[in-house]
């Protein structure tokens, strides 16, 4: 059990975690000001006999200050966030050389279609593996995400990537894995009674490993 975000397993995981930390610092400052302020007032201004409260209806100056500071902070935060948002999820964000994989979600499994040795989807050498996502490290991967029945959500915590799979839509989502290893992919949208067990394994291979796996899997030796 650790008390922070999980391993950073993709190129944008660091950026997302950085933004998380920045927001934690900003909100942390606000949190400390408000809670300590409340505590201080509660102790200092507790009722004592014979004292009367200070009669005032407010202060325009104070109110302008505590309106302006949050306003400026929020607009700045919005602009910074939007920079990363466009870069990670924008319509044109998918790198042109991304390796294509199709994932078809259905109650309660992930059907992963690989492009085969030719590296292109929609050709004869495509093959499908259930509940196993194999990707090469250090290369952008684009997932063409569809759903058979209800809304599911493709969620790989170490990649910091989440995207709903919506029936009737074909949605592209990309990431670039940075650390070889075995991870988990889960469904993040309530999709029925088997929602909790709609999980798959994610294998991040080195390029050589990936090529070897691909060769073997294409011949039908994949564990499916």
């Amino acid at each position: 059990m650790h008390w922070w975000l999980p391993l950073k397993g993709s190129t944008f995981a660091g950026e997302i975690d950085g933004l998380f930390l920045a927001i934690l610092i900003i909100t942390g400052i606000a949190f400390v000001i408000v809670e300590l302020g409340l505590l201080w007032f509660v102790v200092k201004y507790r009722a004592r006999p014979g004292r009367k409260a200070y009669y005032t209806h407010g202060s325009t100056r104070a109110e302008v200050i505590w309106t302006a500071i949050p306003a400026v902070t929020m607009v700045a935060l919005g602009l910074i966030s939007n920079h990363y948002w466009v870069k990670i999820k924008g319509r044109n964000s998918v790198p042109p050389n991304a390796y294509p994989i199709a994932i078809h979600a259905k109650q309660f499994e992930w059907q992963v279609t690989y492009p085969g040795p030719d590296g292109r989807l929609g050709t004869a050498d495509d093959f499908e593996v259930r509940n196993q996502l194999h990707v090469p490290v250090g290369r952008p991967v684009v997932i063409h995400l569809t759903s058979e029945d209800v809304i599911h959500s493709f969620f790989v915590p170490v990649f910091r990537v989440k995207q709903d799979a919506v029936p009737g839509m074909n949605i592209n989502v990309w990431f670039q894995a940075t650390v070889p290893g075995t991870y988990e992919l889960g469904c993040a949208e309530l999709c029925g009674l088997g929602h909790y067990r709609m999980r798959a394994q994610v294998f991040v291979h080195t390029q050589e490993e990936f090529d070897a796996w691909m060769k073997q899997a294409a011949k039908g030796g994949a564990t499916s």
Binding site: H57, S59, E63, N82, V86, M169, E189, G192, L193
Partner: protein, 588 residues
């Protein structure tokens, strides 16, 4: 018309010869209707809590028989072990009951009804019979929803948000009648809210006492007024959407199912177009009542009254243009995500104004820590956490990670429990003497407050950590995932805290009922407050005043140098006060 109705109410105030049934069951008295809403929604709050307790058992001890679970039928928990299909029914019904049948009617049904006429100096609501219809419609809706547990296939299973196509297709959800009852129930609930809102808006516009100008209204009334406008505009959208969903389930339409040309995301747009204003329906009245209580407890005028009003209006307005922030990961065009992110972040500004103005009110006050004040200060302290954690998910890139995780569960409970429910514990204690003529026990109120505050934080704060680990919401058994297994001790800690939190509510329950029969008799103005309601005996008669009081000043004139006492009621005439021009459309 209004004059005739008002006159007949005045006559009632003299000699109340109505039968028991007309007086307490089919009553048109706004105060009785408020109390009816109170009893019914406290019951549903208990139901929602019991459902949560069962979920917590499964999360802490997956696969182990739940104590007392043996009484559940085999379709829910054979041998006391919860089934996954029962777990998602619990998820769905906990959210549905808490949002629609506990928090919303507690805030709006109870306090809009009870407070608006008393605080603006009206004999009753503008349409007392419509008001009665609003209550009975809400009760019917709640009973229909509850019936879901007793039909074949059990309760609905698609979450309180009922995302289609899961909710639209019994073959995919496994719930048939329950899912339909969910829709039918919400049509009646929508009707109830629309009727209520219409009444509150009309009453506030037309029936204010002489001298009760807009900017002399207490912030609770302002908040309830703006909430009513939100309700009137939002609920019809929900009603339309659930009727379409019902058609999808029953007569073969495909509004939300793509297999025959429908759009899955259409449901989400319609639901959240209602749902986000709904979120503010669940917090604005709490903010209003907390403002009243904090000014009273601080013995000071509210800091920046006008900006408090404008902040309420701003939050409500912005509430209409942020619904897409629930859909950042839904496949909606990411460019729309950008604009929804900005509008969402801007809501932090009016929220900050309100928080700092509450602190400004306490600054250099003479703070009295009666039970309502303790709860109101806790509201501010906890609402801040919920508000600040909202910024994480408003930032779209961070939302990519924390969306639909336990982090969101923590956030929404900090707003709805830490916010709304603390405000409600305060409000119930504060206006209890006006409702029943008795005071609730101060000592047990304090015990309840401190234990609730402690166990509440122990229950919900760790959920932020679970969310940061990536734990998804609505998961029947998180230990299925290797990366979530190490967090089991934290889940057990949360569950134990949740049980203690639930047990603590027993203190409130006993205090509530004991005080009703054995409580100390309340003086007319127990909190030394300025509101018009305290000019009446407690409990107040049907029709409230024989002649409505005249209002000479704003509601927060505490510690005014004009009088030796530290409060100056709105209805007290000082030699320097001039008689107001009569309120233009009052008609009393």
């Amino acid at each position: 018309m209004t004059t005739v109705a008002a006159t007949s109410h005045v006559a009632h105030a003299h000699h109340d010869d109505r039968s028991f049934v007309r007086k307490y069951i089919f009553s048109t008295d706004h105060k009785i209707i408020g109390i009816q809403f109170l009893f019914v929604s406290l019951f549903f709050l208990l139901v929602g809590g019991l459902l949560a307790m069962q979920m917590r058992w499964q999360l802490a001890f997956p696969g182990k028989p739940m104590p007392g679970g043996g009484i559940l039928p085999d379709t829910m928990a054979p041998g006391g072990v919860l089934l996954p299909e029962y777990y998602i029914q619990l998820v769905t019904m906990h959210g549905t009951f808490m949002v629609f049948f506990a928090i919303m009617p507690l805030l709006v049904g109870v306090y809009a009804n009870f407070l608006i006429p008393l605080k603006i100096g009206a004999h009753d609501m503008a349409f007392p019979r419509i008001n009665m219809a609003s209550f009975w419609s809400a009760l019917l809706a709640g009973l229909i929803m509850l019936a879901g547990f007793f039909v074949p296939d059990g309760a609905p299973r698609a979450g309180w948000t009922s995302y289609a196509p899961l909710s639209a297709r019994p073959d995919l959800s496994g719930a048939s009648y329950g899912q339909m009852l969910w829709c039918i129930s919400l049509v009646f609930l929508g009707l109830s809210s629309i009727l209520g809102s219409l009444n509150y808006i009309t009453t506030i516009i037309n029936n204010r006492a002489p001298g009760m100008t807009w900017f002399r209204m207490p912030l609770s009334v302002w908040a309830l007024f703006i909430t009513a406008i939100l309700g009137l505009l939002a609920l019809p959208v929900l009603s339309g959407a659930v009727i379409m969903l019902l058609f999808d389930q029953t007569i073969g339409t495909h509004f939300f199912d793509p297999v025959a040309g429908g759009q899955a995301l259409l449901w989400q747009h319609l639901f959240w177009f209602f749902g986000h204003p709904e979120v503010y329906i669940l917090i604005l009245p709490a903010m209003g009542m907390v403002s009243d209580i904090i000014a009273n407890g601080s013995r000071k005028p509210i800091f920046g009254y006008h900006s408090m009003v404008f902040a309420i209006v701003a939050i409500a307005f912005l509430g209409w243009i942020v619904w897409g922030h629930h859909m950042f990961m839904s496949g909606m065009n990411p460019t729309l995500g950008s604009s929804f992110m900005v509008s969402t972040l801007i809501i932090a500004v009016p929220s900050a104004i309100k928080t700092f103005n509450w602190m400004g009110t306490m600054w250099r006050g003479n703070l009295r820590f009666h039970v309502p004040m303790l709860n109101a200060v806790a509201f501010v302290a906890m609402f801040v956490i919920g508000g600040l954690s909202g910024i994480f998910m408003a930032a779209t890139p961070v939302d990519m990670f924390i969306h639909d995780t336990a982090f969101i569960v923590a956030h929404l409970h900090y707003v709805l429990f830490g916010g709304s429910l603390f405000a409600l514990f305060g409000a119930i204690t504060y206006w209890y003497p006006k409702m029943f003529g008795k005071l609730m026990s101060e000592r047990w109120g304090k015990v309840h407050f401190w234990l609730t505050f402690l166990f509440y934080n122990c229950t919900f704060f760790p959920m932020h950590i679970l969310g940061m680990a990536g734990e998804m919401r609505r998961i029947y058994d998180p230990s299925q995932y290797t990366f979530l297994q190490p967090y089991q001790p934290m889940r057990v800690f949360i569950t134990v805290s949740a049980y203690l939190l639930f047990a603590t509510q027993l203190i409130f329950f006993v205090n509530f009922w004991w005080s009703l029969f054995k409580g100390k008799k309340a003086p007319q103005n127990p909190w030394e407050d300025n509101g018009l309601e305290w000019s009446l005996p407690a409990p107040a008669p049907h029709g409230n005043w024989e002649t409505v009081p005249t209002v000479y000043r704003g509601p927060y004139e505490f510690s005014s140098p004009q009088v030796p006492e530290d409060y100056l009621p709105q209805y007290r005439k000082l030699p320097t006060d001039r008689e107001p021009a009569r309120a233009p459309v009052a008609g009393h």
